[in-house]
């Protein structure tokens, strides 16, 4: 009897412990292990003790050649002082892992298609597609290519990886970042492959966008003539990155136009492409245009805004160089920043470097295809997707010499299987990470050029300014030499003659060096006009490049304040050109008093998407309703196949020049409408849609389109939602949920370089830290912080944290 009682008591106790020690108890994938999670000694409570507040720490780490010191300033920016580049990058790895380890782990996982290992079944489809696209395979090839071409640049790179592991190795379970505890897993050893995976992830964000399937369908549905009318590739009003008068560096090339092919099947993209993050700007103005006679360089890359932020701010100081800026944790060196001599920054190039191919299969097994007159066999790569709480999913991905077969055939639409060739997954023959490591040390234009030569993908517009007066911008990356229209739609390629296989030579990439205008700038617009002899296509922005060049052309005696104001400019050429056309076509005879009041607001608008504007709301909703009524045919077809939609600039153009065309007619109504009719109907749509909101007198643009800065886990409680910000994708301040200026930087060169910057987030990834999200309010208000390029650690009067690193076996005291 006593024995039985003991067994029952002990059994209940043991069972209770087991339950509390289990993740996903009762099969609920989202539940943490409650015992571990709530335990105040080792669970999340321990993360509340925000560790960066503790003053002075010393570490002995294996891998350093000499002592190094890190002092953290008032925003928790680490200033790394080391004796060599390798030591500095080692400490960078340690420090970035210290503050951003889970983010690094997650980005690498997302790229490799390994999210389901920690999130369970809910991310399985995402993982599957990612495996099909073969980013992990590409990352493996990248590591091999890097090792082969790195030479002596490999050692400092690997020291960064060692630094990350030095942090991971000393990490106790109770000190794991909270997200690891919540999801119940531990960080794995960091390798060069993890870093390569994150470059592939960045490439996916920046240069995997194309509309080949959509173009194929649209071309087939509309026919070549109407297609050419609605989708011209180049806006003649555009101000390209390289003005025509600067195109003087080119050899003669002649190209024969490719013959367009019309495909019979209708293609459907199985997953919508992510939002188009066009919004980045960068520019440099020469001393001739500035108040103090030295160049000023500005950069605001626009990306999806997340917590923790993509960027981590830091300074690297060695006897050889002294640089400041932002890095993407997992990557050695500073990506956007400045040193005592130069400043540099990037925007996305947006060239299309991802193409789709149909194969000429030999038989129904779809394992052999004809190419160049011979029969080739596909190769298999077996993808094992581990899924938390479920058994492993196996997918055998077929690889052709183009690349993997990503999209399956569909009997329903007649869609064929499609193989993908994406430049970002080709094996690199250069050591790409050296680009940024070398830029950090560069002190003049020649060294900047040498650094750029290491770069392959994703194509970026690298802007440059030097205190000796030079300014420049290079559209840098590996760009294929294509025949006109090649790669705009799905291709049937049976021989290598049909394919691009050469690249634009490095010295003929679009670039501008010290132009007569006194400025260089990019805003994701076309690199050049069609006068540039190499054909290229892509997703380019059509409004911001124009406002940027217009504004810089008009400015003189420029100050840092002028540049900050320009980065925050909400002025839109889309509104400037679009609104007058809407207004002049509007039938005002039947408007009621409220509607006439709205019309008055619109007529008085200054085309600025300011936070307090109401006219901006009216115009956006009016334009949107008008666009939907004009291009209703596309929305109808889109239910059957993926379609390409006319761009806003072309819609504006056609409204001005072709008002009689039949496509203005809204096919859903019986009457034949012209632009005037649908514009008037759209005005009424807008009025109906906005009526409830507009009754609130304080309802403004900033509230209409707020931004949500989501935690990477997409957990609301760790996110900051509903941030009121001004801006519009057609303005330089291109904020548009969920993307926006992910880092704003203005650098004034001179005897003493001065930097200003801000990003929406905070240095620490710990949600308990005061440095988790403290910059968001200032960022939303358009403010900047002065960036401290220290000459010695002592210069910082009150560091919030000091870390002293000593060579030796790993321990801490």
């Amino acid at each position: 009897m006593r024995f039985l009682k003991f067994i029952i008591a002990a059994g209940i106790t043991f069972g209770f412990i087991l339950l509390l020690n289990t993740y996903s108890a009762f099969g609920l994938a989202q539940l943490p292990a409650f015992g571990k999670w709530l335990d105040p000694f080792g669970g999340f409570w321990n993360n509340a003790r925000s560790q960066e507040q503790f003053g002075d720490k010393s570490f002995h780490l294996d891998g350093l050649s000499a002592p190094a010191k890190v002092v953290y300033d008032e925003r928790l920016v680490p200033h790394i002082f080391a004796e060599t580049e390798a030591d500095a990058l080692f400490v960078q790895g340690y420090v970035e892992a210290r503050h951003r380890l889970w983010q690094m782990d997650l980005m690498a996982r997302a790229s490799a298609g390994r999210l389901s290992e920690v999130f369970g079944e809910r991310t399985l489809e995402v993982d599957k597609l990612q495996r099909r696209k073969g980013l992990a395979h590409g990352a493996e090839k990248a590591v091999t290519g890097w090792v082969e071409s790195a030479g002596d640049r490999l050692d400092p790179f690997m020291k960064y990886i060692d630094g990350v592991n030095a942090y991971i190795d000393q990490l106790e379970e109770k000190d794991l970042p909270m997200e690891f505890k919540l999801l119940g897993y531990k960080p794995e050893k960091w390798t060069a492959l993890h870093t390569a995976l994150i470059t592939k992830r960045m490439a996916q964000t920046l240069c995997s966008r194309e509309s080949d399937l959509e173009t194929t369908n649209t071309l087939r549905e509309l026919g070549p003539e109407v297609y050419a009318l609605l989708f011209p590739e180049y806006n003649p009003k555009q101000t390209p990155i390289v003005p025509d008068e600067e195109l003087d560096f080119l050899s003669d090339t002649s190209l024969s136009p490719a013959v367009g092919q019309l495909h019979s099947p209708a293609f459907r993209r199985p997953e919508p492409q992510g939002p188009e993050f066009l919004g980045s700007n960068n520019w440099a103005v020469a001393g001739s245009k500035t108040a103090n006679g030295y160049p000023i360089l500005c950069n605001d890359p626009h990306l999806a805004l997340t917590l923790p932020a993509i960027w981590f701010e830091l300074q690297i100081h060695t006897p050889e160089y002294n640089a400041y800026g932002v890095s993407i944790p997992s990557f050695p060196g500073i990506m956007i920043g400045f040193n005592e001599n130069i400043a540099w920054g990037e925007t996305n190039g947006s060239q299309d470097v991802l193409d789709w191919y149909e194969l000429d299969w030999v038989d129904d097994t779809h394992t052999k295809y004809r190419f160049d007159g011979e029969i080739r066999e596909v190769e298999y790569r077996v993808e094992e997707i581990k899924v938390k709480g479920r058994k492993t999913v196996i997918d055998s991905v077929r690889y052709t010499h183009f690349g993997p077969i990503v999209y399956d055939a569909s009997e329903e639409t007649g869609q064929e299987e499609l193989a993908m060739h994406w430049i970002a997954l080709d094996k690199p023959d250069r050591f790409e990470p050296a680009t940024f490591m070398d830029l950090n040390k560069a002190s003049n234009y020649q060294e900047y050029l040498a650094a750029l030569e290491n770069y392959i993908s994703p194509t970026q517009n690298f802007v440059f300014a030097c205190k000796d007066g030079d300014i420049a911008i290079w559209v840098n990356g590996r760009l294929p030499i294509k025949e006109p229209q090649e790669g705009t739609s799905i291709q049937i390629a049976n021989s290598s003659d049909d394919l691009w296989n050469t690249f634009i030579p490095q010295n003929e990439l679009p670039h501008v060096y010290n132009p007569a205008s006194g400025f260089v700038g990019s805003a994701n617009q076309h690199s050049t006009s069609p006068k540039y002899p190499y054909y290229y296509n892509g997703h380019f922005d059509d409004f911001r490049g124009r406002i940027l060049h217009r504004a810089l052309g008009q400015m003189d005696s420029i100050t840092v304040d002028d540049m900050r104001a320009l980065q925050n400019s909400n002025y839109s050429i889309r509104a400037e050109e679009g609104l007058p056309l809407l207004l002049q076509n509007l039938d005002t005879t039947e408007l009621n008093t409220v509607q006439s009041g709205l019309l008055k607001l619109l007529k008085d608008w200054d085309y600025r998407y300011s936070g307090d504007s109401r006219a901006a709301i009216l115009f956006e909703e009016w334009w949107d309703a008008f666009y939907r009524r004009s291009w209703d045919e596309f929305y109808t077809l889109d239910s059957e196949m993926s379609m390409r939609y006319p761009e806003d600039w072309r819609t504006i153009d056609l409204l001005a020049t072709d008002p009689l065309n039949v496509f203005w007619d809204d096919k859903r109504t019986e009457e034949r409408e012209g632009p005037g009719d649908i514009i008037t109907l759209a005005f009424l749509d807008m009025y109906e849609n906005l009526k409830p909101q507009l009754e609130k007198s304080n309802y403004t643009w900033a509230q209409h389109k707020p931004i949500d800065i989501m935690h990477l886990s997409r957990i609301d409680a760790l996110s900051r939602k509903g941030i009121a910000v001004p801006g519009n994708p057609s303005a330089l301040n291109a904020s548009n949920n969920p993307s926006g200026p992910s880092w704003r930087m203005v650098v004034e060169l001179g005897p003493e370089v001065k930097g200003y910057g801000i990003y929406p987030g905070g240095q620490s990834a710990n949600p308990a830290s005061p440095y988790y999200d403290q910059m968001i309010e200032d960022w939303a208000a358009g403010a900047y912080y002065e960036l401290h390029l220290l000459k010695s650690p002592e210069e910082l009067e009150t560091p919030v944290l000091i870390q002293n690193f000593h060579p030796g076996k790993g321990h801490q005291h």
Binding site: A10, I17, D39, F44, Q53, M178
Partner: protein, 122 residues
């Protein structure tokens, strides 16, 4: 007196054990303390464990929470769908209490196994 001793010992031993071992160390601490102290009835050791565990976990959570002004706890309580820091502290304390109470109860019955039975005494 024995009850107070049990409280203090579980809190002290539990604290020390949890510095080095995972959360179940608290159960072992309670088990050992009650086994050594010895009780005649199960109710008091259970109650003592409940109180001691709740004090230890609740107190420790409160201590951990202080330096960051409850910022994290606020976020976690939202994440877990609780009403606020109070509820989160309460749940944490309750869990610690239950662990120590179950450990104490098991310790009590374990000791009972070796108590000379009434029959054997005759």
């Amino acid at each position: 007196m024995k009850f107070l001793l049990q409280l203090l010992l579980i809190i002290g031993l539990g604290f020390l054990a949890q510095l080095f071992f995972p959360f179940w160390a608290l159960v072992l601490a309670a088990f050992v303390v009650v086994m050594l102290l010895g009780y005649n009835k199960p109710f008091l050791p259970f109650l003592g464990g409940l109180l001691a565990g709740a004090i230890l976990w609740g107190g420790m959570a409160w201590y951990q929470n202080m330096p960051n002004d409850g910022v994290l706890a606020e976020r976690i309580s939202t994440l877990m769908g609780f009403g606020g820091i109070g509820a989160l502290l309460g749940i944490t304390a309750l869990l610690g209490g239950l662990l120590a109470a179950l450990g104490s109860l098991s310790g009590f019955y374990f000791r009972q196994l070796f108590r000379p039975s009434a029959k054997a005494a005759k």
